[in-house]
Symmetry: D4
Subunit: 249 residues, 8 copies
């Protein structure tokens, strides 16, 4: 339930258009709703400016749709992350307006397209083609939260000229998300070029001592560029989310 | 060399008050200066809005003062991080205007106090008394970069009422830095209360499976609150720096 | 070593009734014969108050039913843990009275429902919906061991109001089991609210540096709340078992 | 501030023996007191039945005495853990009634000896002589919290007869704390003998792949005896604390 | 090629029954034979008293049979370890005399049953039922190498009386192999009872912080009993082999 | 920074031909424009002497063929590494001239066979039969880059005579690639025999504490022979590539 | 108390030369003796053929001498391991007959030189000069337990000819102890040459990814030679002990 | 003993100028010399083109000088690595011609300056000032082995223009050594610019998840540039050695 929706209900009460008992009914789940397997946090979009996001991993399709049933009654937008194709199919069947993005393993449901509210542009850069799914998850999240988002893919540090040819876009971005696997060097190089915050996302792309992304993660945390903060391995969603928070006016 | 200083030099040339060869001389180290053991990056304050910060660990006192000799000629402010007392003494002797903060192991040298340029307040919260040195490093950095900075210390999650009593300060901050060792739970709890970006700083406070801060770090990267990004263990400086970047207008 | 026994042996030697080599032989195993005497063949349900639990992982269905054949002749209740659906089917076919709980991967066989013998209520709290299977394993175990057990699911630390709304149940519980994956922060917060023992169960829910539950485990072991003890990752059974032990009159 | 003290104050108000403003004054720090570097949690002894314990590691002697100044005004007993000799000397000088136990690295200050309130006896068993300091920390904690505590030292699993000779004490204990380094096998063996909860404490005693206690910790978490829960490496204090919680009536 | 076979060939030459060129032909692969993908080490049974053992993992069925083709011409016995059922089927089809043991994942081919040459009995003890496959691999290896081998299964440390009831067999064994997963405590307890060498075999049985057997391995390497040496996780073959070496006259 | 360029800009300012803000602008990006000038768009085969190699893992077949469509128009040779059979089939269908090597999981496409340009012979040695796939990947890479390449397979250190029988080939090689899993000892032994650079390739062959190749990797990095440098686990491609670089005239 | 001593006492009783109460007195500590901080295991030399060895690390000098006071009354030989020079000095002052070996950090006390009882020769081989202290600890232990022990030092695998020149000694040894740090390759090479059991001892010699000896340990556990079993890092004592057990008739 | 020295001795014999027994005497230590604690490998300079290098860590000053006594009789040059100042002083006192380089912790002794025999120039690049000691060790080693060596220090990836200004030197080098701590990104960037082999040296510079250099090491092993091979953490010596091997004609 977002801020506007709450104000509208209260205004209706003030205007005598909504009886108090009806308003009570509408608001009584304001904080959260306890269904058998979940406490649906309806208060979150008021508190945090964006509704709870459903973490699909480890939940059954029934649990996901059960939570969505409750939330779609009160929210304008809804994201489900880390949801595999079979489960996503079951969800889409129940919510035909929702869209599944298989590379990002993400469902986006929205009543209407969100307004752009971010201060500037969020730029997402990925080191390799194999990192695109994670970058895509960041893209969908940041966009759903009301931001202009641009992308530059496959500009790893072994061929710097590719990266340097995008100087203009890099210089004018407000927040940057840099996605890289393997040695995770790209965020350091990008961050060294600008005076804007960089959210670094390590990916599990690689083998051997890439250690499922730990090496890229640790490299990013050790960046010799100081304007870098880091999220979990493959956490495109978190990067998009925190970048949106930074980009708020 | 910062933006204003460069404009001033050029204006003097335009005004005929500074001869071209003299200006060349002043600007010829604009990019960097190669001293025996370092490439001093004078261009950085133009490119990044803040001069290079000297990482004290592993450098001799002579190397630190050698770099400072070059930089203090062109910059208004200068930070040295992770510098031990004995080395700091040698540096302070050479630069009596510099101040050493022993708990934060940091030297701050400034020609004049920086203007406040940040959009809002940066709030630094620490979980325990033992985390204060790291919080202090973040404080000094963010302040030196032109921000209003406030602090709340020792409000760990085992006594929530202490944290909750600071709701107002938490709600009105623009960016938050949350510093915690041991289980590193505080950033999740704080971030769950607000819709602002949280920079989480794990500390090496703890023993046994605190693993020198790895546990707090990993916990923070796994935060169930999505508005959290993380920096390296004990990296108060990096947290202050990236928070300052976020807080720029 | 029993003083009298030793004197008797020596007296027999002195009396010439026991040859020296025989005496040496008797004395060589003295401590181990001691041991054997001390362990008269009480079986486990006498010694420990609950029959041996069958660890299903790595056993064939035949091995499981073979053990059950023997045990169901002497016991009133029997648990099989970590047993996959196919193997469970084979077991259920052989023991139609047994019940398989697929989410908890557990078989419960009982001749009759156990009496409630626990002193108070055991309360099981889980951080997320995805942690429910582990919580369920704890629930079934504690219940089978004769306890009143209650549950609160999906009250993670990113939305504290959900947890705080259950204050009453939390305050009146005798022992608490707190189940959480990801950053594993919930046990610290819950334990900080009460003066009862908390058994923390880390789960493997998460990705990246959740490290299959290691991060949650280490966080719980580093809890800044002191009334927390921890069991292995995903070990709902162990948590239920030790909580039942604590709850015994 | 403990429960009785609070009831007394309120009774004095009810009896007219204490003016309301004076009572307000007495109670206004009830929740916590914010000194420069710490939020002293006076509410804790009401909430948790035992006052906050001061974690000495990483605090200066001044910080420790500063916190003690506040707490000794309101509490009957006070513990400082992980405090090194030099710092302890400074503290003892300021609080001559406090006692420093160098092997356990612990300061115990008490207004008067606590009553025994525990239901039964807490038995502490250590595998080796080198594990005694950790066992001692558990002993002092459990005793300070009002328990009868007994100890058996140096009964490792390589000579079982030593352990088995103490069968009687083991069988009659209410809660057991088992302290072991190296391979950490002792808790499994002890727990297999009884139907009481065992709190296992791994120690950092050992070398090579003892990995500073990680091996003992992991072994204990994998115990094939189910009545075992575990605390952090060398965390004798936590073991004593949680055992005391379990032993409460 | 074993020692006897070589002596026979040479005697035939001495006796004039074998022409020198024919003997050359027989002996020319004595050292090794280079087939496309392998250097078959025919010299090994002379050098080490037992022919090369084929490590099945990572080899194709064709590679295994190719090596066996060469070796069965010169050896009396042949082992293939870590070979999965499908590959084993292909091998057995080609060598119908070979026997596949699916639980131990091992193929044993022998021209005739080996004589018992070991000095005493090798006793194999396993902690749990799930550890039996590894114990079986040790059994088959030690037996193939000419030893009397006995076994005791499922005598874990959580019920010591089971172990202690086998005192006699344990005391009279010449070498012991002790197989355990989880906390890996059994070798310490067994070794503490005797004055014979114990080869400890950690298994990957367990979950969570059993870490695929690392915990059992490290526990065994930290054994407080000194007569313990250790082999790799799940390496039943290695344990059987080194025990056979120890048991040689 | 080019001295003349800087003087020119300043002269323009002095001459009033360049406004101060424009001059500031020109100087702000000076170093990066520098960079761009230095990187005229040589493509990679000009810069590095060999075209970009396509890392197949994590790419779809469509992405691989899409990249190949572009590259085959301009290159003579093209490698795709780490590509699984199904994806490789799709690629081969589109590029019938390309050859898929299933053991090395590699596609080689070439317009014509490359000339031999290497200074000497590259010798590839593998410890076991199971290491051959990685050795094969190195072989194909080095050969494609214009080198004479020889191989010796299955000469592990447990039977030194096999290795020593190849002394001549080992002594005359120009660069050596040594491939080994398990304990990774072979590179040390080989490197100790010669005065040529050895590129060591750890493989994931093994089990238990082979840790997926980490043990072999670490062993090789700790080689007591100093003429050893190491590449990532299973990185036959990288070993072939760097050996080819070393072997260039 | 060893076998002979026990038989002598009993014979004196049988001969009427020793009264029963006096014999009881002599034998009453046969099992163990409980001093304040230790259970001295007097039964061990009967059970295991060698008295308990005192692990010096983590014990005070007083504790060590306290245990020695009890044991020297009943044993012929006594070892203290891992004892630092200052503590050793205090012990030697109290027991002037004891000898401290500073490189091996070991105290050896003996009433008289032990008879040689081992079947053959134990050969200790070390890879480097820096590994000698560990090898020395093994040497002293095996010798004290009644074995002929020989040594070959500094024969690492980077110069095989040094090792191969000692073929004869290697071939005729009964049991081998091979000590190596860094990549830990030596046991594989030595074991490949013989058909005798090899006890491998990893040392912490090295830096970087030697990881304090973990790399050598893991390499040894992955040995491609099957006649290798391993003890803990730097555990020369354990290697000597288990080799002595193997070498018993 | 180098190649020329051996030829000279033999020529003297052929010329009748050296009696055979005298020649035997001279050559009898050709292979190695067994002093009490070391096998000095005199054969190495013939086999490997450079004499054995003494690894100082873990050796006493007496052991180092003992080995040097033997080697300086037969070699022209001698290196001691990882030797601390106090030990170095003792060595220099005995060999006044030797030079100790304290930052590189290295002693260089040479009879005369070596001829330059390398094909091209070896270029050593370091990321930061703190990495210089490791770079210096590489420099001294490569120079001692007869190479032209150049250096560029402090050109980390957070300020690319510093690196790019050295394009010319980078392009004309024959072999490159790139030294970096923290995130270890520099080798990838440098290697992407050239078609020459790059030896990457991770350093332990950094803190937190730099993990003592492991992060830099793993990042380098995962380099997206293929012309990179890696040596152990802080192993400047190894890098210099292998670069010299590559640079041999």
């Amino acid at each position: 339930m977002d801020h506007q929706l709450l104000a509208d209900i209260l205004q209706s009460v003030a205007d005598g258009q909504l009886a108090v008992p009806d308003a009570v009914n509408k608001l009584r789940h304001l904080s959260f709703e306890d269904i058998e397997f979940a406490h649906v946090d309806h208060h979150r979009s008021l508190r945090k400016g964006f509704p709870e996001v459903i973490f699909g991993q480890g939940k059954t399709a029934d649990q996901v749709t059960g939570i969505m049933d409750k939330m779609t009654q009160q929210e304008n937008i809804l994201l489900v992350t880390r949801i595999e194709p079979e489960k996503a199919d079951a969800v889409i069947t129940r919510f035909p307006d929702a869209v599944y993005h298989p590379d990002a393993r993400m469902i986006v449901w929205m009543r209407e397209k969100p307004d752009v509210i971010g201060r500037g542009t969020i730029l997402i850069i990925s080191a390799g083609t194999s990192d695109i799914p994670v970058a895509k998850e960041a893209f969908l999240t940041a966009q759903a939260m009301g931001n202009r988002v641009e992308t530059i893919f496959d500009v790893g540090v072994s061929g710097l000229h590719r990266l340097l040819s995008h100087q203009e876009a890099i210089q004018k971005a407000s927040v940057l998300i840099v996605v890289a696997g393997m040695e995770g060097a790209l965020p350091s190089v990008v961050a060294g070029m600008i005076s804007r915050p960089v959210i670094a996302v390590p990916t599990s792309v690689g083998y051997g001592v890439s250690l499922g992304g730990l090496t890229a993660l640790f490299a990013m945390l050790n960046s010799c560029s100081s304007n870098v903060a880091v999220v979990n391995i493959d956490n495109g969603f978190g990067a998009g989310y925190v970048a949106a928070m930074i980009n708020r006016p």
